[in-house]
Symmetry: C3
Subunit: 436 residues, 3 copies
């Protein structure tokens, strides 16, 4: 009867706690698009799924881009005249503009302010800022703290350097019965932001762990890479074989309290777009669907016109639309165990659809077969409720002319795919349905 089908996500408690613990382990690390932060993070993920780390040397051309130098940061602070650290990288790694060049100077506050980023409308939060592909330095801090600084002279120190090294990404391939691939991808470059994207990394690592031991029709490829440059590097190194990708999902920001949001691939009608819409409709009716736009996460690269891959994005609250986004409020409290588990459940349900969807053919296509004779049908024909119990069977027999898939039928019947797949197995066992 094939792999079992779940209609409901598993009880979220255990999985949620494990996912949150993994987020908590990843959270404190100061990641960037290159460097040891991402290596340490991938090492942690590698304890859950069989991850291979790839190192791509600084200077390597990847399409229109060049792999940048590694950023090595040891310390950063702003020090008052009395030696007190008024801003300290060790307290929060968002305090330093990510990828800043090194600096060691004494500056009056007025001049220092030009290098300081705050959020006046959210005066207690530290913003997240980056200086990729640009030789700059800067600090981020709470606006209230900046306002409280006496007008004085400060020592600023960023003990960082950019050195030739490599860009690191992690890849895990779980071979299936076919070479058709499912791509699962999470950006791994953001520093201490729990939802964005420790949540995505944790959910995909746990998913890989769980999938490693099951029967797989498709080959599953997990990619953890820095945003933009990492996806570009991965695509440049895998250009020939990405055509094997039949379905793909980017996972990012899936731990907050918001309802799921699925953003369609550029194609808009790729199978993954239908599958996610179906799964969300039945498993998370509060979810929302969005059309593709070329602003966002690595769908920008996967869906660029030279590739145009069938890759969508699963998140909860859409990036950029919630107040904690890219601030120090995206912390471990912002991410909830049951939300992480719920996201994992949605992806696993989608994978069940991917694995189980198939076209069947009714072997008794002329009129209905006599289900009652086979014990498949309530005998009291006048019972007004009998129809409901048998409806999935009737839909499958009616629609299985060899051209329609189980998902097609589930959508037309407006029933969950899992119900349809389980019922199809019963009818296959009876010989009433066979592969088309």
């Amino acid at each position: 009867m094939g792999a079992a089908i779940r209609e409901e996500p598993r009880p979220a408690d255990d999985i949620g706690a494990a996912l949150h613990a993994l987020v908590a382990e990843l959270y404190p690390i100061c990641r960037s698009i290159t460097g040891d932060g991402i290596r340490r993070s991938l090492a942690i993920l590698g304890r859950h799924l069989p991850l291979v780390l790839h190192e791509v040397p600084t200077g390597t051309k990847v399409f229109d881009w060049t792999v940048p130098r590694e950023w090595r940061i040891r310390d950063a602070f702003i020090e008052a005249a009395d030696g007190t650290r008024v801003v300290d990288f060790r307290a929060h790694n968002l305090h330093v503009v990510n990828y800043s060049v090194g600096v060691d100077a004494v500056l009056p506050l007025r001049e220092l302010r030009r290098h300081i980023h705050t959020l006046p409308a959210q005066p207690d939060l530290i913003p997240y800022r980056t200086a990729y592909y640009d030789e700059r330095w800067g600090f981020c801090m709470a606006h209230r703290a900046l306002e409280a600084l006496p007008d004085s002279t400060y020592r600023v120190r960023i003990d960082a350097e950019h050195v030739d090294g490599s860009l690191t990404y992690g890849e895990c391939v779980l071979r299936g019965e076919t070479e058709d691939e499912v791509l699962l991808s999470a950006h791994a470059c953001h520093p201490s932001l729990a939802n964005d994207n420790c949540s995505g990394m944790a959910v995909l690592a746990m998913l890989g762990a769980r999938m490693a031991h099951r029967r797989r029709r498709f080959t599953y490829r997990f990619v953890f890479a820095p945003g933009t440059i990492g996806a570009i590097t991965w695509l440049a190194r895998n250009q020939a074989q990405v055509r094997r990708i039949r379905h793909g999902l980017i996972v990012a920001g899936v731990g907050d309290a918001g309802a799921p949001t699925y953003k369609r691939s550029q194609r808009g009608t790729a199978p993954i777009d239908r599958i996610m819409a179906h799964v969300l409709r039945h498993q998370a009716p509060e979810a929302s669907l969005r059309d593709f736009s070329p602003y966002g996460y690595d769908e920008r690269q996967y869906c660029s016109p030279g590739f145009d891959l069938p890759v969508g994005l699963l998140q909860r609250s859409p990036f950029g639309e919630f107040p904690e986004y890219h601030t120090s409020a995206d912390n471990l409290d912002f991410v909830q165990p049951q939300q992480l588990a719920g996201a994992l459940g949605l992806i696993e349900t989608a994978i069940e659809v991917i694995e189980q969807d198939r076209q069947l053919r009714n072997t008794a296509p002329f009129c209905e077969p006599q289900l009652g004779r086979r014990g498949l049908y309530g005998a009291l024909g006048g019972d007004a409720d009998a129809a409901k119990r048998n409806l999935a069977m009737l839909w499958l027999l009616n629609q299985s002319d060899g051209t329609r898939s189980l998902l097609d039928i589930a959508e037309r019947a407006d029933m969950p795919f899992a119900t349809m797949a389980a019922t199809a197995s019963v009818l296959e066992r009876e010989g009433l349905l066979v592969p088309a």
Copy 2:
């Protein structure tokens, strides 16, 4: 100018009364899927349209099914110790589970209860139950009456037997100018249920009577058969020629006070689906349309994947969704003369579309022809109302490029088909439109 076109159904009084009288004649008969009840019913219908009765022997294989034995019932009752009949088949034939095996026993009430069906939520109504394809016996009664029975011992007797015989169905073929067929079908197996389906039998019989004397482009085939097994039997015996069916309509439950409901064929976009939607939009705007589902009447067989015929279902209140459904409350009071006449009117309007629809070609396609010169157009060009009177003509001339049918044009113009067909005849007479 061809057959006259009616925009409105004829005055309903006479026809409604005749239809209700026919329902009343059919109502008391104890029909089942086989046996004399259906034969007597078909004999009554045969007084209205030239019906041929077909007898298919018990044991005949029809696809996955076998024609069952005939059910012969003479009497059935539950008798109290004092000889009083507390349940009597002669009072209402719903009291016996249809197709019950015979029984003659004395049972304590506790044991008897396992064979009694009631409707606790509708305690005064007798439910309709069947035991087809299963060796069982049972009674149906009002829940209140059951509750009032003293805890005693009762004699139960069903004087019935199942014998080799035949399944009976009636067929009437009205040949037309072409072999293209229109199928009109009603199930004829339900016992004393006035709406379900004495109403459908009566409306189709009267329709056949009225159509027998008119010019027919299509061949019309009326089928009155027991539900499910009858349709299966008919399809098995007509498998080669059902491909001639261009349009089909099942008629059932068309006498109650509800608005018309049309259920689309499996194809969903068959011509009959468009035609019925058009007719209902203009003639019964209170009607509702439903998509196909594989639960219902004999559309389950006609629309099975091996046939997939363009057959829809016309009913009023949808089966299973009104409280009187499959109960003793579906009686002669539940069925109204004007509702029966209205249903007949809808079908006749649909048949006008089927008969009259055709593709025409404008013989003066470059600019508008000068209608005024032909007396076809109001001469005062500045009259703001002139447009309305001429709009049907303008639509026909504009759209008749040989690819669009009158129905296409009526739908685009959002005008009744009858208006378009009558106007087309005027323009054909003028030579401005010719067959495409």
Copy 3:
């Protein structure tokens, strides 16, 4: 970088005043489908754009029609017994039914009334009526004035004649880089009705004046002709070359206070239909769109099945749906300078789309090109607002696979075409986009 693109219509004051002055110059002339009224009107338009007048002799066959005789009217009145003119053509040319035959008679009021048209529901307005293609005479007057006439005998005189002559239309062709044509057409036959269609004539004349001096990819053909017979005549004389028309717009009734209304071509999905919908959505969101119907202005001829040209209609309040329509209240007060200028602005924006729309190809289609390196992108990747500024660029790069036009992309991105076209020019300059 090509022609500049305007997102907003130019300040309307100057243009609006000039347009209203031109309407005022055209307004008093007694036009008809033939005769000197239309010739004098075309002469006025010819001072603005290089108009060629075509004379087509009376009796010329044009498809199903014949060019009618010229109508020459010198005077018309109804005179009371005391010699007072109670109705005087010189006071308002709507007083005479347009194209009336001559008459000189003395009639009792009772008999005269059969030749008098009024609007009882708008008792102070003179209606507009015509007697084309019919030998009749008549007067139009305010209902209140008619009611005030003493029951007496009146002299009626229409000093008019129908003579062999010609039908006149004006045409202006502005050659472009290609032979693909844009047709712009206004009916020019209505007498003193300011909105219908002095407004359309004035807007198209001014448009022609402005377009004469700009670079043109398309050839623009302006046609000013009497309604119906003029369009038919023009089509009959240009039958071979109308296939060059890629886009067309009829302009009529664009000076009143109502929001723009665009009526689609018969095709419904012609490029002009998309273009006008796009322009109105962004530039006049209060506008409404209507589907084609075969009643209206000269779209009846352009969209007849033998031609089926991609020609839509731009108006403001839809003809026949406002109380001033075809009455003396459609006067110079009814037409507003800023509304005329607004209509011109909409057409010019549509022409920008026609001129600038093109398919481009991203030269760096694998992943995104590095915009930051080219100074095209905000460097602070963490800035939540950066996306908006770059979104048009990202859409263009993502969508420009050579199959999609700038309009396609603007519609998908839901941004104004002008924004997309301006941004495309930037990317073309950088070599990131090239012609497909």
